[in-house]
């Protein structure tokens, strides 16, 4: 049956859909695999998926909340900013062996307000959704205001299940890392 074939294929691509409880994703130990998955997760977000079962068709079995599915299928702000730009802060957190890597970038104007934000995430649907939400929330805020964004806000907004709370923490860390990078760049610029 076509749906079950897609389910098997997607469960290989998305181990979390196959097993509701924790699946050790540390089995992905080769960095090149991680990079391939990162580029696939990015390309997935910019193309309509036709060949694999989307999480929406599995939602009654797996229980992903609609908000996570929405961010997974239509992630906001996927992409890159020029990391050498002095107005751009880049936060890169996580490790492929742990299953999640997030790159979150923010661009500020001269007033310190964040005007643009982009992300790229390698990881599960919850990780992608968490970082997508993070990029949405940082826009229009100042650099100091975004430090008040807490992982519990992201987790509550997405209704993350217990095992996926770590994704929201990583998203919070990514915001802080981006702010920290921006601040250190601005310090260097002042010193020069």
């Amino acid at each position: 049956e076509n749906l079950s074939q897609n389910f098997i294929k997607s469960s290989f691509e998305h181990p979390t859909t196959a097993n509701p409880s924790y699946t050790p994703r540390h089995q992905f130990s080769m960095l090149s695999n991680a990079v391939q998955r990162l580029s696939r997760s990015v390309s997935r977000s910019s193309r309509v998926i036709t060949s694999r079962a989307s999480p929406a068709s599995l939602v009654q079995k797996r229980g992903y909340h609609d908000s996570i599915v929405e961010h997974y299928e239509n992630p906001r702000n996927v992409g890159s900013l020029n990391k050498d730009d002095s107005n751009v802060g880049t936060g890169l957190v996580g490790a492929p062996a742990c299953g999640d890597v997030m790159k979150l970038q923010i661009k500020v104007d001269d007033n310190g307000q964040i005007i643009e934000s982009k992300f790229k995430t390698f990881g599960c649907g919850s990780a992608i959704a968490s970082s997508s939400v993070a990029t949405e929330w940082v826009k229009g805020k100042t650099v100091d205001e975004v430090l008040a964004i807490k992982n519990s806000d992201i987790a509550g907004h997405l209704k993350l299940p217990p095992v996926k709370l770590h994704c929201s923490m990583l998203a919070e860390d990514a915001i802080r890392a981006a702010v920290s990078d921006l601040k250190s760049k601005q310090q260097k610029k002042k010193a020069a």
Binding site: Y22, S39, G91, L165
Partner: protein
């Protein structure tokens, strides 16, 4: 065509990436915080999580009026299901950590401190991240201590949880 993402400048606010060369240098600085072999880690983590399961089983058997508690430990994941929510404690082997997720305290990572023979909240190990939440659990350093405080918060009973002081 996607450019290869260079990950050589990974920034982790928590000291959670274990790289072999660094580990040996850091081991001396942090009192051999990391395990020497992965099997040591598995032994210690399994032992810790199984102990927690036993202690909690006993606790809820002794106090049936606290409600139904479903406590399972399988494939390195300890799941505690109470009416108040679900706790998930799992082994994170690449980092040699225990990852914790609680409805009261959220996600945390615990690393083993051999000097104290206990699992320590990684925030207290990594000096880069000393932020305080200001909530009542922000100073629970050890794994067992955190669970004990939470159970006390919910049920106002500490009797039977003394085994958690060692974890």
């Amino acid at each position: 065509m996607h450019r290869i993402l260079r990950l050589h400048s990974i920034y982790t606010p928590r000291l959670s990436t274990v790289l072999h060369g660094r580990r040996n240098r850091l081991a001396s600085l942090f009192n051999s915080r990391f395990f020497n072999t992965e099997s040591e880690y598995h032994y210690k983590a399994d032992e810790t999580l199984e102990n927690m399961q036993d202690i909690l089983d006993f606790y809820f058997e002794e106090n049936p009026d606290f409600g139904s508690a479903d406590i399972t430990y399988a494939s390195g994941v300890l799941t505690i299901q109470l009416p108040q929510g679900t706790w998930v404690l799992n082994k994170q082997t690449p980092n040699r950590q225990i990852w914790w997720s609680s409805p009261l305290t959220g996600p945390r990572r615990y690393e083993f401190a051999e000097k104290r023979n206990k699992w320590v909240w990684s925030r207290f190990i990594d000096k880069q991240d000393p932020k305080q939440d200001g909530n009542k659990f922000s100073n629970t350093v050890y794994l067992g201590e955190t669970l004990k405080q939470e159970m006390f918060e919910l049920f106002l009973e500490k009797k039977g949880l003394n085994g958690l002081d060692d974890l």
